[in-house]
Symmetry: C2
Subunit: 239 residues, 2 copies
């Protein structure tokens, strides 16, 4: 069944607007009475189409249930900004793997160094990629993509979480020793191409982060988040 994300849900009534409305009527050629799945905040609404126009598709809710596709943890990926379009790739994979939120972070070894305003221009595109990946992988909750964080903001944000993990190229404990379990909010920090400098690693550790090693081989900065998120999802029973 076609799957859409929409937060405009009022009791038993759902209003889908924008490109999705056009998509339902034109590309998918759906008709009055057809059923679609509308997802919002991890809930799946089985819905029947009542009216269709290019501007709005209105639906009535036939039933709703928490999605079984969402992970039982709240995993936030703090990703140091990589070069080129690698962040787009990472966001797509993070969505498939069940990550809840991706926070791009500017660290000292990032080669790409936009200011926050410059980065904001990319957010729309990144969020569209997250949306498409969420639809395709059967998510019921949109992956949130935040504006660019400084390293200090990243540390403060991670402090609000139950588990603070930093994958460090100079090594650390195994993910299985980090005490992960279902229900936790977990922050996962991954470096850019050059990894982290010593000062950042010290600051992270003194701020309460646990340094994690991902084995002896050197992983590219776009491979590390996929590997780490996969292992976390596995250890918490989600994969």
């Amino acid at each position: 069944m076609p799957r859409f994300f929409c937060d405009d849900i009022n009791g038993d009534h759902i209003s889908i607007t924008g490109t999705d409305a056009r998509h339902i009527g034109r590309s998918l050629r759906m008709r009055l009475g057809d059923e679609i799945t509308v997802c919002s905040q991890g809930i799946e609404y089985r819905s029947r189409i009542l009216t269709i126009s290019d501007e709005e598709v209105s639906c009535e809710v036939l039933g709703k249930a928490p999605s079984e596709n969402e992970a039982n943890i709240s995993l936030t990926l703090f990703q140091a900004l990589p070069k080129g379009d690698k962040l787009e790739f990472i966001i797509q994979k993070a969505a498939e793997l069940g990550v809840k939120r991706v926070c791009p972070v500017l660290t000292s070894r990032c080669v790409s160094r936009p200011d926050k305003k410059g980065f904001d221009k990319k957010l729309e595109r990144l969020r569209r990629i997250a949306l498409e990946a969420c639809k395709q992988s059967g998510r019921a909750q949109l992956v949130e993509i935040t504006p660019l964080l400084s390293f200090e903001e990243c540390i403060n944000e991670m402090k609000t979480m139950e588990k603070e993990l930093m994958c460090y190229e100079k090594g650390g404990i195994s993910m299985s020793e980090a005490g992960l379990s279902a229900g936790q909010s977990i922050g996962l920090l991954i470096g850019s191409e050059g990894g982290f400098d010593d000062a950042e690693a010290e600051l992270a550790q003194s701020s309460g982060m646990t340094l994690i090693g991902l084995g002896k081989r050197i992983l590219r900065c776009e491979t590390a988040p996929i590997a780490a998120a996969s292992i976390i999802m596995h250890l918490t029973g989600n994969m």
Copy 2:
């Protein structure tokens, strides 16, 4: 220290030829007496350069030791042929993650359907990608890329391994229930975009394969091998 793969090792003498020889002399501007690491079959040879020409760099071995970067399992990825250049991407990531061998497989739902001869033309490029990824990730053993296998050949090849795992989109047991441990030879079969058809899944299971589920979300065919290999490497103490 620069890292090269070479199997032409005679006692204490190593002869590096081809593009690597030119690379050492021209791009890296190395000199007589400089040290390099030569890797062959999982062994690292600390070596000193004796002569340099565009055709050959000869070295003497100063010391050798099994690499600490190779995984303690022998993991072969049997990958159903994906569309476009995704196989190149999968091979690069497999090399980083410590996979020993990648065997492309033609399954019923592969969209790209070259014959074996047609696929052989791509092997050189795929092997070059594997070589570069091995160098960059610090491997000491080259990832082997085999010619295209039929599904039946894949099944027979997997039967020679201690563990035969097939990731199935309709679900299976968790990787942690598959009894994986250090020292094993493990075959991992991953589908193409459309997954496997029912007949293939039945044949695989009746041939002794264990069906593995990778969670509720739908992973793209290039994400599944990375996630599965990461979890296998984690469960066997390699990541």
